[in-house]
């Protein structure tokens, strides 16, 4: 860019400089796109194209046994979902498990972040420990929790027995199974969110607390009037990420069921939308219907996002 304004020098040297200047201008103009190309080429091939093609496939009857054999059915896959009790059941379960796993998780994460924000001995140790569940895969974690929540020989029921309670058939009850599945999610993700809150806490300017303390604000009022408002963007961020994660819940309910396939329990009591999609596509072999479920999930997520955005705008307007 700078070489474009060379001083007038004559002779072959000037010509070389000018040529180099042209090459540079050309490079400066186009090289940014070259740096972006790998990302966008891969995204187009493995992100955008599949996204759109899922929409196209959802308008067809496609079976897994012959994926290239597509028969146009219009919106029939969607209209069938509207009257499909298993779809509504899966949607309900996704919402309830999502709430049961996200709300306690984020509240506990805030508490843990508060603890970790103290001046501590071994603070690195506690932070790494809080993050170890995140290093455990969905599969490994769920396999252990299935045993811990076992009806006859599980550790949880044994501990309940010591406390004088009757054993619980975790897997077969609707609420108990959803509680157990939520526990796995909470165990894996609380520490991760705590670290994100901790980072935000450390970024709150100390002067805010000092002036609040000068004004005579108590510890609790400082928390309510300084900490929470400062953390609001971070809290919103973690809510969005956790909600997206909750709508996709798949591995935990798949493996919590053990050998019984992708039904999410004998009575579908913990079948989520992600699991129902998998069952339709890869157990019942209806890829077209699976695509319709995928797009329905996406639309529900967009709708939820729009509601949150509108609520935020309304709150800002009314102050």
């Amino acid at each position: 860019m700078l070489s474009g304004t060379t001083a007038p020098v004559s002779g072959p040297r000037a010509e070389r400089t000018a040529r180099r200047g042209r090459t540079h201008r050309w490079a400066a103009r186009w090289s940014p796109y070259a740096y972006l190309a790998p990302f966008f080429v891969f995204f187009a091939a493995f992100g955008l194209f599949p996204l759109l093609y899922t929409g196209w496939a959802s308008l067809h009857r496609v079976e897994l046994t012959a994926p290239t054999d597509m028969e146009w059915v219009g919106l029939r896959n969607y209209s069938r979902l509207l009257t499909d009790e298993f779809f509504w059941n899966a949607l309900r379960n996704t919402v309830t498990i999502g709430l049961m796993s996200t709300v306690p998780q984020l509240l506990m994460a805030l508490g843990i972040a508060h603890l970790l924000h103290h001046r501590l001995r071994g603070s690195t140790f506690f932070r790494v420990v809080a993050l170890t569940p995140y290093a455990t895969s969905v599969a490994a974690a769920t396999l252990v929790f299935v045993l811990l929540f076992g009806r006859d020989f599980g550790l949880v029921n044994w501990a309940l027995g010591l406390a004088g309670a009757d054993p619980v058939d975790w897997q077969n009850g609707r609420w108990t199974s959803q509680f157990a599945v939520s526990t796995i999610v909470i165990w894996r993700w609380t520490g991760y969110n705590a670290l994100i809150y901790l980072a935000a806490l450390q970024a709150v300017p100390g002067e805010l607390y000092e002036s609040a303390a000068l004004d005579g604000a108590s510890r609790w009022r400082q928390f309510a009037h300084v900490t929470v408002p400062s953390l609001r963007p971070t809290i919103l961020f973690t809510c969005v990420v956790s909600t997206i994660g909750a709508t996709q819940l798949f591995g935990e309910p798949l493996l919590f069921n053990g050998s019984a396939g992708a039904t999410g329990g004998s009575d579908h009591q913990f079948q989520t939308l992600g699991l129902y999609l998998y069952e339709q596509g890869w157990v019942n072999l209806h890829l077209g219907r699976a695509s319709a479920i995928a797009w329905a999930m996406f639309l529900i997520l967009l709708l939820a996002g729009a509601v949150v955005a509108l609520a935020g705008a309304y709150r800002r307007r009314t102050g």
Binding site: L2, S3, A27, A28, P32, Y33, Y35, L36, P38, F39, F42, F46, G47, P50, L51, T54, A57, P67, T68, L115, H118, R119, R127, V128, V129, A130, L131, T132, A135, T136, S137, V138, A140, A141, L143, V144, F145, L147, F153, W158, G191, Y192, L195, I196, L198, Q202, G206, I244, F250, G251, L254, L255, G258, S259, L277, G281, L287, A294, M297, F298
Partner: protein
């Protein structure tokens, strides 16, 4: 900065509870993997290690193909981490330091890619893999994972402040070509963030679940696919299942023991800037 409150006894007590809750399921995996299957059907359940760990690990290694799975997952996660870091650094540098048309729009698109659930792409990806006869081939799980909107954004946020714009301009004026600028100016400045992104991507790829379950079968599994096979009654012996879970988790725990501080730092750094 305000002096942060010194932790009292109650804080330490709460943190010790946190430590126990965080580690207990992992420790108990080892406890369950170290005994016989019958030991798990007793009351009270085992709370201490038994003597059968080597046999159970060996059984998981051969019967559940954990050996193949660990090798496959190392290849997949390593390739995905390397590719993601390279592509993210290139694009992150362009977004951080170069001027071009549609820059803001393209950056918004990158952030938007993070919101797209993986469920929306599995059906066409499955058709593609079937068409190319890539079922059970590792490239079917590597190639779709090389795109990371998070990675691009993470590198951009780092390079905006870590790489002085004058340094790039100076290298340009000296006549350095694009690749030379990348190699001698951008990569050295980006190295700490590249390392953190590599570790985060490795962990995520190691634990990737939904698509590998669909694309791969038990004949050439990744760790997660093999564990799913175990969980679905492939092997009835619970202590061998736990040994498999232990084998599949240990490598990542090792990574955490060695690099834990930097991974924690990376997550917290991404949080503030994101």
């Amino acid at each position: 900065m305000r002096q942060r409150a010194r932790a009292g006894v109650l804080t330490y007590a709460a943190l010790i509870v946190l430590t126990v809750v965080s580690l207990f399921p992992l420790v108990w995996t080892a406890v369950a993997a170290s005994g016989s299957n019958g030991r798990l059907a007793r009351t009270p359940p085992p709370l201490w290690f038994g003597d059968d760990l080597p046999e159970n690990l060996a059984a998981a290694w051969t019967d559940a193909a954990m050996g193949t799975a660990l090798l496959n997952t190392t290849i997949v996660a390593g390739t995905v981490a390397a590719g993601t870091v390279l592509f993210s650094t290139l694009a992150g540098f362009a977004f951080a330091k170069l001027r071009f048309r549609f820059k803001d729009l393209l950056l918004l698109l990158v952030v938007g890619t993070m919101m797209v659930p993986p469920q929306l792409s599995v059906v066409p990806l499955f058709m593609l893999v079937a068409e190319l006869s890539w079922t059970d081939r590792l490239q079917s799980v590597v190639l779709p994972a090389l795109v990371s909107g998070f990675g691009v954004f993470f590198m951009r946020q780092y390079l905006v402040t870590a790489l002085p714009t004058e340094l790039v301009e100076a290298a340009r004026v000296d006549g350095a070509s694009g690749p030379r600028v990348m190699w001698h100016v951008v990569f050295p400045a980006a190295r700490p963030a590249m390392a953190v992104l590599a570790m985060l991507t490795f962990v995520m790829s190691w634990n990737d679940f939904f698509w590998p379950i669909i694309a791969l079968t038990q004949s050439n599994p990744t760790v997660q696919v093999a564990l799913t096979g175990l969980g679905r009654g492939y092997i009835p012996d619970q202590s061998v299942i736990m040994a498999g879970a232990l084998l599949g988790t240990l490598p990542l725990l090792l990574v955490f023991v060695v690099f834990g501080r930097r991974i924690v730092g990376g997550i917290m750094q991404g949080a503030v800037k994101g």
